[in-house]
């Protein structure tokens, strides 16, 4: 990396264009590891000692004369031996424009579980399609692979804001525009059925680097951004800025251990909206009213604070508030739900047992929950829904849960933080499910 570029990296990070978290969806054969290796390599997120370690790697996959970029992303011994990826790994790189975190998820049998995990914190997803593998009929119709559909459905369910379809291995189809156009057409049709919007498509070759970081001179017919340019241009403006306040209480601080000193701080992170001194808030679930007296960050007093900030709030009133309660905008409170309908992804090898209770963790709250109904299992390959009695590893389904105490929540599509939960097995203590709360507008679920 030249000094000039690194100076730009420094300037960019000092200015803070914002961090972008993204996930790559595709199987080993789609060239996913090669793409990540290429992004790291061309943006110089690879260090020379890592390259050297690759050349020493005991287990090599043949890839001709080129460096096997996929070796860069294999972390563990077992993976190198078997040539597979076990688990979600996180990679870091920066360009002169911004910093990136990649959630690198493997593409074999536990794919759904891993992709859901990676997608839960992602702002963007790269869906990889191997251009050399799609079936192209005589009339130009393309049949997409089932896994492409699966990745897209998960991206939709997890509400990833930005989607790019990377049509990879263009080098194997002679950089043919027709192949690209047909795939994009087929994908657009499918995306519409699923409900995905604002899809961007980019023809590229991770192996040769065409349109990954540098523009390709082999595809003059493509005028759009390279993959990295697209990633750099994405908005990370959090639309939760404009939403009503959500402040789940994490900890209650009583200075000097007793209340006589009058210090009672409510610690937490703002998950939506903003808060200012003097604001009138609602305490949920108690329904009491509160007024913001001060907002503390270490030894500073802030006039206001916004989504993403971890702060300590002091209130005018002396109220009984504890962890798991939520401070919300008085005019736009969150819903209080004793029964909730959600899409869940089952993450455990032990199937769902509707006779059992599970711990449900939502924001800073934990309650006991029971699954009262499994509405339908979603076949992520065909998008068909089927009735079932239980859920197995990697299943995605719509279910209804009953809680022992109400959740203070929003719909997942309104707010990822207050609309998501996990289920924990009370015997094994494993995390067994990830849930996204779905609400209809009638308020039918609203039983307080």
């Amino acid at each position: 990396m030249s000094d000039m570029i690194s100076r730009q990296v420094l300037q960019a990070s000092a200015k803070g264009y914002g961090l972008l978290r993204f996930i790559t969806a595709g199987s080993v054969d789609d060239g996913k590891s090669t793409l990540i290796g290429r992004l790291l390599f061309d943006s110089k997120g690879i260090f020379s000692d890592q390259l050297e370690a690759m050349s020493q790697a005991r287990y090599r996959r043949s890839m001709g004369d080129a460096i096997d970029l996929s070796l860069l992303t294999d972390g563990l011994e077992a993976e190198r031996e078997q040539g597979i990826t076990i688990d979600v790994a996180y990679r870091y790189f920066a360009t002169p424009k911004r910093k990136f975190i990649i959630a690198d998820t493997p593409g074999h049998e536990q794919y759904t579980r891993n992709m859901v995990t990676g997608a839960s914190t992602a702002d963007a997803v790269i869906i990889l399609i191997d251009a050399s593998k799609v079936e192209l009929s005589d009339n130009g119709r393309v049949t997409l692979l089932e896994q492409t559909k699966r990745h897209s459905v998960i991206a939709y369910l997890l509400q990833i804001a930005h989607v790019v379809v990377a049509i990879n291995k263009m080098d194997l189809v002679n950089y043919d525009q027709t192949v690209y156009t047909h795939i994009v057409q087929a994908y657009q049709e499918f995306a519409q059925q699923v409900g995905l919007e604002n899809i961007r498509a980019i023809p590229l070759s991770a192996l040769t680097g065409d349109n990954v970081v540098a523009s390709s001179d082999k595809m003059p017919w493509y005028q759009g951004p390279t993959l990295i340019e697209w990633l750099e241009s994405l908005s990370v403006y959090d639309d939760c800025h404009d939403k009503p306040l959500r402040f789940p209480v994490q900890l209650v601080a009583r200075h000097h251990g007793h209340e006589a000193h009058g210090f009672r701080g409510y610690m937490g992170r703002i998950e939506a909206g903003k808060v200012s001194k003097g604001d009138k808030l609602l305490v949920q679930p108690s329904g009491l009213n509160a007024t913001v007296k001060d907002i503390l960050m270490l030894d500073r007093s802030l006039e206001s604070a916004a989504v993403g900030q971890s702060v300590t709030l002091l209130l005018e009133e002396y109220l009984d508030i504890s962890r798991g309660d939520m401070l919300t905008a008085a005019d736009h409170p969150a819903r209080q739900l004793k029964t909730v309908t959600a899409d869940v992804c089952w993450l455990s090898e032990e199937p769902l047992d509707p006779r059992r209770k599970y711990w449900l963790k939502h924001t800073t709250n934990q309650v006991v929950a029971r699954v009262t109904k499994i509405h339908a299992l979603l076949d992520v390959n065909t998008q068909q829904k089927h009735p079932v009695n239980t859920l197995q590893l990697n299943d995605i389904a719509s279910i209804t849960l009953n809680m022992q105490r109400p959740l203070i929540a929003d719909a997942y599509n309104m707010n990822r933080s207050t609309g998501s939960f996990i289920l924990i097995d009370e015997v094994t203590h494993q995390t067994v499910a990830a849930g996204m709360i779905r609400l209809n507008d009638s308020g039918a679920e609203n039983a307080s």
């Binding site: 890592q50 859901v116 270490l298």
Partner: protein, 311 residues
């Protein structure tokens, strides 16, 4: 790039990425305080644990830390680091627990071929596990980062360890959104890494922004070193000169601080945090690659140590 995107980038600029990393780390530490019954914070005096202390101050001010600081002392330390460790702890007025690998050697739980000069880095895991048992800690907060090493890239923020303190990469709990599963059975414990998502450059930029003090050996100084296998091995009582080697005085600094017998400085005249940031941005070698001889023994050194209970 169109105008809308520009506007969004500028809006986002108000929400500095360091603020985002810091807020995430504060959130994680508060989750530990709320959900774990007997946590501890691992403080070595190294730069990453110095960042952890700052995060803890921000998370719990004006209260005291809801956990003691713990140092697993290899006995092979640079004096400047131990002096710094004690000074910083005293300034904060927090409680420091020190447990020594030396004590494990005396107990017979750690055996080294050459107890005086062998690296005690891996042996730290044994002493750490003994300390966890002694104090019944259910969570140890550490400064490990995912960008450090390929086994760490696969590490969770709340990393589950079984009753033998072992990390099993094949059986990690899935970690979604920022909903951390802290449930444990008796004897099991958690390692918690609030700065998982930070890079080496992020750490230095944060140290600059927060004006954090560090042990002096992080900054350029004169030191007697021996060139060996591409490393600059510091000349100390534990690392002696071998036949056909020449000691020379070089201007160096340490990128990491650890066991003397396996930690090497890099040639550098960066004497300020700003100069180190400029060097870090153009560095072509990872932090551990430049400095840790114990990571070079095999491709999976860190993975093996972690499976054995290392943090």
């Amino acid at each position: 790039m169109n105008a809308v995107d520009e506007k969004h980038l500028i809006d986002a600029a108000g929400n500095h990425y360091l603020d985002w990393l810091e807020s995430e780390a504060i959130h994680i530490m508060r989750e530990v305080a709320a959900e774990c019954s007997n946590p501890a914070l691992l403080f070595s005096g190294g730069k990453d644990s110095v960042v952890l202390l700052r995060i803890a101050e921000k998370a719990f001010h004006p209260g005291k830390f809801p956990f003691p600081l713990v140092h697993i002392d290899t006995g092979h330390n640079f004096a400047e680091v131990i002096e710094f460790r004690d000074r910083r702890t005293a300034e904060l007025g927090e409680r420091l627990i020190v447990r020594r690998v030396e004590e494990s050697i005396k107990r017979g739980t750690v055996r080294l071929r050459n107890p005086e000069t062998d690296s005690r880095n891996a042996a730290q895991a044994v002493t750490l596990l003994e300390t966890i048992t002694e104090f019944q800690f259910d969570a140890c907060i550490g400064g490990a980062r995912r960008d450090e090493e390929k086994a760490r890239a696969k590490e969770r923020i709340f990393s589950f360890r079984d009753e033998f303190g072992q990390w099993n990469p094949r059986a990690q709990r899935p970690e979604l959104w920022d909903l951390y599963n802290t449930r444990l059975h008796p004897g099991e414990n958690m390692r918690v890494f609030p700065i998982s998502n930070w890079t080496e450059l992020d750490v230095w930029q944060y140290i600059a922004r927060e004006k954090l003090a560090l042990p002096s050996i992080y900054f350029a100084h004169e030191r007697q070193v021996i060139s060996r296998n591409g490393f600059l091995v510091p000349l100390t009582d534990l690392t002696q000169i071998q036949k056909n080697e020449v000691a020379e005085t070089r201007i160096v600094r340490f990128r990491t601080v650890g066991d003397i017998s396996c930690t090497c400085p890099v040639a550098s005249d960066a004497a300020t945090v700003e100069a180190i940031i400029a060097e870090t941005a153009i560095s072509r070698v990872t932090e551990r690659g430049a400095t840790r001889m114990d990571d070079q023994t095999s491709e999976a050194s860190m993975e093996h140590r972690k499976k054995a209970g290392y943090f």
